[in-house]
Every structure is written in C-alpha cells, then in structure tokens.
Amino acid sequence: MPTLTIDNQTITVPEGTNVLEAARQLGIEVPHFCHHEALGSVGACRLCAVEFLEGPVKGIQMSCMVLAKDDMVIDTGSDGVLAYRAQVIEWLMTNHPHDCPVCDEGGECQLQDMTVAGGHGVRRYTGPKRTYQNQDLGPFIAHEMNRCIQCYRCVRTYQEYCGGKDFGVMGTRQRLYFGRFSDGPLESPFSGNLVDVCPTGVLTDKTYRYKSRIWDLQEAPSICPHCSLGCAVIPGARYQELQRRRARTNRRTNGHFICDRGRFGYGYVNHPDRPRAPLLGHRRVTWQEALAALQNHLHEFCELYGSGSISMLSSSRASLETQFLTKRWANALGSGQLCFEAHPRRDQAARVAASQAPDCSASMEDIRSCDMAVLVGADPLAEAPMLALALRQAARRGARIVVVDPRPVELPIDCERHAAAPEELPRILQGLTRPQQNAFASASEEFGGALGRALLEAKNPVLIGGSDLLGPQGCQMLLKAAEACSPTGSTCRSMLLLAGPNSFGGAMLSDDGPGFDALLEGMEQGRIKSLVCIEADPVADYPDRKRCRAALARLDLLVVFDCAATATVQEADLFFPTTALEEAAGTLVNNEGRMQAFEKVFSAGTPLLQSAAGDHPPRFFSRDIPGSHPQPAWTTLARLLGRDAELEKVRRELEKIDPRFDGLAGLTADSEGCRVVAPRQAPALVAAPASGVTASDQLHLLVTEHLYGSELLSDLSPCLQAVKSDPYVWLHPQDVARLKLVEGKPVRLCTSLGEWTLELRINGDISPGVAVVPRLRGTVVETLVPGSEPMLCRIEKA
C-alpha cells in the first residue's frame, strides 16, 4: 500500500494503482482521454502529464502509466505540466472541426472539457484539416470521423473489452480511420458502448440524434428492465418522451457498460399504442369510476363466492413495492390465490434461485474475476447479454470457460463447448454434485464429475445455469453442485439466469403460494371468478396460450394494470394504466438477490411529438398533461389498501415484516445495491415427468430466448425492430440430412400446440435430435414460450 503526496495531499492507495487513479481518489481530476477505468492505460493521448518532484520517478511523466509508489511527490499543475498539456491539446485539436454548436456531443463532450482544462482557447493553426468519408454503421451508431482525435478508446472497447471483430482502426499516423471494412451494421451486441466511451462526437447514439442537449434532459439513476441482471443505466427524457439510455457505473453488476438491448430497448415507454387511460370494457373512464367499479366488483365477489374467488397475478416486471402491496392487498381481501409469475416452471425456478444462500451467489463482478466458469443450459447473449461480457473479461485474464448446452451458444470469446442433449443436462449436473466420486453410471455423469474436479481445483470458480433450460429441478441440482464443488477455504459461487428483472423479488414474496397453474385450474373449475393482473401478461407468458385464453374467458372479471398494450390488456374488462419503470421510483431484485433502487426519471405523459404532432406549443388546451393518467401500480394498491402512497413507508413496512429485505429502506438509487440478507425456503418440487420416447422422425423442440424480439418491453422499442430476426428453426446437419431437408428453405414445424412454417437454419454446434426455435413476439411463432420442458415435434418440408 504505497503512500504518496499529490498536490500537497497525502494518500495511501492499493498496490497497482496508477497515479491518475490515485489523484482521482483525492478528488483531483487529471485531464485525460485514452485512460478509462475499464479499459486501462495505454499512454497514447499524452494529456495526463504530471510532474514528479520526489521519489523513484522524476520529471514530467504520464500519470496513467506510472504506478503509485512510496515517497512520490507529485504536482499535477506545475507550470511545465500546464504548458505541456496546452501543447498536447493544441495538437489534438489541429484537425478537429469547429462544429461544437451543431455537434451531437454538445454538452457532454470530454474533448471540450479537456480543451478548456488544458488551457487551449485560441486556435493558431490555419492550415487545411484532414477530412473523411463517414460510414453507415447501422441503426444504432452515427459516424462522424472528422471529429476524431485518435484516442483509440473505441477500438479498445469494441475489440478488446467487447470482443467485436468488425470495427477497428485502419491506416497510420494522421490518416487513422476508425470504422468498418465497409459500410454495414456493427455486429457486436455491445456496440452502443462506443457512444459512451467516445470522448467526442465521432460515435453518437443515432436513435437520439437531433433530439436534445444533455442539459435539457431529465435524467436519474435507474435500472435496466430488459433481463434479470439489473444493469445500472441513466435514462434521459424530454418533452414526455424517453429519448435514450446510457450506461451507469455499478462495479458489482454491469461495471461501466451495457448491452444494446438495454441501451436501445427504451422505446416501449413512448409506444404510440400504449394505453394511457383507465378503461371499463372499451370505454374510457376516470380513475374514480374505474376504482369504484373495481372495488364494487371485488366486494360483490367476496360476498357472493367468498374471497377465494379473487385471484391475483403480478410479474417479474413489477417493482418489489408493487409486488409487496399486491400481496398485502390479497391478504387484506383474504385471498391466498396469488402468484408472481404466469409461467409455472419459471415461477418454480425463480423460487429455487431465491433459496440460494446470498453469500454463495455470484455477482457479475465475481464472474469478471473468476478463474473458471461452467455454464449449464445458459445462453448469456440471449438470456442476460451482459453476462457474456463479464465472461469475456474473465477469459481475458486466463479463466477457463466451459459451455454445456444443447443450443449453439455464441459468446464473444473462444471457449470449450460441449453440445449436450437436454436430457443429458440433469446427468451432467448429477456428476457435478459428486466431483469426488470414482465411478459414474454414465458418460454424462463422468463428464460432470470431471468438470466438478476442475471447479474444485480452481481458486474462484463459478457455476452458471439458465433457469429456462434447467427448470426448477435442474436449478436445485446446480445449487447443490456448486456447494459440492466448493474448494476448501473458498466457495464455488453460482448464478442462475431468471426470466425478468424482478423474478427474484417475486420468488421471495411467494412463500408456498400457488403457481399460476393452480389459479388456471380454479378458473376452469369456476371457483375463481376474477383475476387481477398487475403488470402481468399471462396470455403471452403462460406456455399454453389456448388453455390460458379459455380459462380467462370463463372469468367474470379480468382486471389488468399495465404500461404496455399486451395480449392480456386486449381481454381486460377493467384496465388501469401504470407508469413505465422510468416514470416512477421503486426497487428491483436482480438474479443474484441484489436489491437495487431506481429513481423516477420523468412524469408520464404522451410524448409531445405524438400529442402535438410535431407542433409546438400544442394547439389545444387542458388542465392535464395529455396521457398523464398512468399511475405507479403500487400507489394505486396503496390507495386500495386505504393508506398513504409513500415509497419510504412501503419499504420500511416490508423490511419490518420480512427481515430478509433488511437494508431496503436505506437504499439509494446511485448505490451499488445490497443483497437480500437470507434466502427463502427451498420450494418442494414435484419430479418432472420423464420425457417420452421419441419416434425416429421426432425431435425435441427447445424454445429459447433471443437477444432481440423475446423480451416484452424491448420488443416494443421501434429501433430494435431493425435487428429482429425472422422466425427460424435451427437443426443439426445430421438431422437435416436424415429428414432430407434443405437449408434456407421453409420447413413445417408440427407440435401439439400448433404448426408453423419457418426458415430452416443449420448449425453444427447444436445437439443432434434437438430443434431450436427462438421466441419472437409478434411473429407467427409468438405463442411458443421458452422455459417449458422440451416438447416433441416433427419437422417436414413445407
């Protein structure tokens, strides 16, 4: 722990800290471009010069390239240093255009800040500037090469950190060009990070172009709702429109970056079809009328059929506060018919995940620093994209990454792949739970055992599972395996990928409550007369859509609270509009059990662009902001419970009733969050039915998540439509040959749920005997939902 003096202040920093970071810890910001905490130092921009007065190094040196050592005395602002920096910044600026007033980076330009900080105010260079042809980099990123100052941050982010291969640096000296070999969309699913790392206006968010300056944006610390990882983001809104999302730093979760689904999935908030007013049938009513109707109906049901006739369903999209008050409301009404996930198998899997001991679960930070990771049935890019990036960082440090999966799991790293059939996964997990055993019953178990031994020998091993493929039984085995593979003195941490941003919270609150299956049975038998869906979409999320629709049709009353025009909203007898995540404050519990608070970014209202059709100011007058009816679900629930809608009170109440949520009331949105204190009880699982014998022409159908098009909210974002795939089915070349099919040609997929015509794609990494179909909302296959047991199917020529 070296101790050094910087600008007359003394500080002790950990070994390996460079002088730039040490200064930053003292609150001294040394001007710099190429250094970035996540990317490290390269000493390329020459701007972070400081003067070393005493100690092992003397004179003017780059602070990012010198490690802090004892007895160093440093002056970050000596005359020599200031003159040096002024010269460097003047060089960097020679070719830079004078387009600041119209530049897309205006207001958040690090180059501008550093130019001013560097003391370069007047341009002396009068010669011609080098100019470039820009490229079309696809729907997300705008390219303006003339502004480039060659800091290399983009290449280091794109290639080194994110593993992209199609964007880089060409040429030499003053002719450097940062771009692609030819025009075309950037291929990396993390391309949006270029916007955040580019210190000037070369690479900017195309979807946000010509919309706002940063100082006009309403921003607040928030959480990304598009998977279960809970990455930190900063959404920005203006004119009642959510205009962009950028990454926020949380060293325990996402680090500094986010994925493109998270960055560009924001458009759901502004969707023109978003229902914004309470509806009774199809008639617009006031909140008072709607609430009165709700209370009257429920009162009537209680009187006529008893409180058991009322059921409630929330979801992993709902905040912890909403879930908690839903539960309180169900309790108050006396109904135990409550669950937090429409997909029974996902529900059970989340309950298993929440039974994991908090000190054994892996954070993304643990994964970035692991030395071995085994993924069983987990497809990071599809189910939790930032996990792929975390694994890449581990691999870059030399970690061994093993992927065991029936699907062709793609990762931005070279890793060991083991194509295992779905029915092999439990046997492999079985082997993993007994790493010390000598003889195994099957080759799969033996393989699992060998992996287990490797995990035992590792220093910081991690075992990662996807709950969709593993199911509750598999998830439970994975947690057991992690326990068995813990080396003496340390822990094999485990991570389970879950269905949504608050699956964990719902599972914690579920206790031994029924699954949605039981609720459906009640509806079918006529015991349950009403269902209140609070930010839940059972029609789309229950694996058997026909059964779900038929059961809902038997209800006397279907009430839906939601912020999106879901399939269930279409069926609702009574509808209440709720706020989107960015329009209210709340808490989400991510897949490792980390409670993370988010703040309200802006107030709900129809974007001016829509309500005024481009006119400004709008040409009609009213007391209310158009489209401002959505209310946070939890405030409505608080009203129904007859209490104050105060977030603090709700959090304190939850903390008091359930000490596992200790720390919730003290959470701030800009913190790293905190883990739930204790696990829930492991649920009692019913053994899964053994999958039937397959006939020679039958395959196991796996419906899986896809990076784009599977998750409800991001799929409503217009800018992600451009990258959404058409429906397809993946088969192994062996099966394609056996079934005499032709790649690229349409084929017919026949299952017990229906038949569809899809494009055939061939992949050699897939397990033979398996057909993989991605979940794509709004396409012919939208009724196919991931997370179910593999179903039998046939595939024939269309």
Binding site: K165, M170, G171, T172, R173, Y177, F181
Partner: protein
C-alpha cells in the same frame, strides 16, 4: 475472388495458416502472396486473405493499411519508395524526391503514364546508415545523389523490359 490466387496457392497458404499457432502471424505472408500475383491488394484481395486466415476483413485491413509496402490501390510495375524520415531528410532526401518528380513527370502518389513507376514517400527503410536511401521494387539504393537517379531509373526500366 478465386482468380486472385490459384487454387493451389490458396490451399498451400491455408495449410501454413493451420500450422501456425496464431494465424495473425501470417497476415503479411498472405497479403504479399496476393500482391505478388496481382501487383496490388484489392478489396477482394483483403476479403480473400480474411477467408484464408480465418479473420474478419477488418482485422486484415487494419494490418494491410498499416504497412506502406502493401499497396491497397493499383500501382506501376515498380514502386519507388523515397525515405523522408529524419536521417534521410537531413542528408538531402528532399532533393531526391524533387529530382524524381522531374524525371518521371509525376507527383508523389502518382504513377507514370506508361505504368512503369509509382512514386511514394516512406517514413523509414531501415537504411539510416546509408542515408539518403530509396527503394525500387525490392532493390535498396543507399547514399544516393540526385545525379545518379537518371541512371538508376534507366537500369530499373531496362530490367523490366528485358
């Protein structure tokens, strides 16, 4: 694309790439093979190299555009590289460049009308001890005086024509 190299050459290069622990080590070899066969490396040449090496076109292009001895545009039958780096500059490379421009009637970066010579400045030929230096094709000329240039060009021209 296949006409840039023969099937046999491609197979040979692929075999060598396979034997190399890091395919990137072979980027220049593959690019030079394409350049030797075609005089320069076209976009299609970069794409072919990428296929042979198992890299992305961008990864090949990053290297192809870094080195000034890989020609990404058509050049004459012989390329003249005149060093303008510090040692050669201090020993008179500017005069050499000027004289060559007069003799060839072209500016740096251009090719003579007969397609014989392309004139390029280069930042170092690794011949600082023999400054000022220039390179024509693969022949290095050190300690060059402007008066010698006409004879050098004649010799180089005669070599091609014979």
């Amino acid at each position: 694309m296949a006409t840039l190299l023969s099937e046999k050459q491609i197979a040979q290069l692929k075999r060598r790439v396979k034997e190399t622990p890091h395919p990137r080590e072979m980027v220049l070899d593959v690019l030079h093979a394409i350049q030797d066969a075609n005089g320069w490396v076209s976009d299609e040449g970069v794409e072919l190299a990428a296929i042979v090496l198992g890299l992305s076109s961008l990864q090949v292009e990053e290297i192809a555009t870094f080195y000034d001895k890989i020609y990404r545009r058509p050049v004459g039958r012989k390329v003249i590289h005149v060093c303008d780096s510090i040692c050669c500059w201090s020993r008179g490379s500017e005069a050499i460049m000027l004289r060559l421009q007069q003799l060839l009637a072209i500016a740096p970066g251009e090719t003579t009308a007969d397609g014989m010579f392309t004139l390029l400045p280069t930042c170092c030929l690794g011949a600082c001890g023999e400054a000022p230096a220039l390179r024509i094709g693969r022949t290095l000329y050190g300690g060059v005086e402007p008066e010698q240039l006409e004879a050098i060009l004649d010799k180089e021209r005669a070599e091609v024509e014979s």
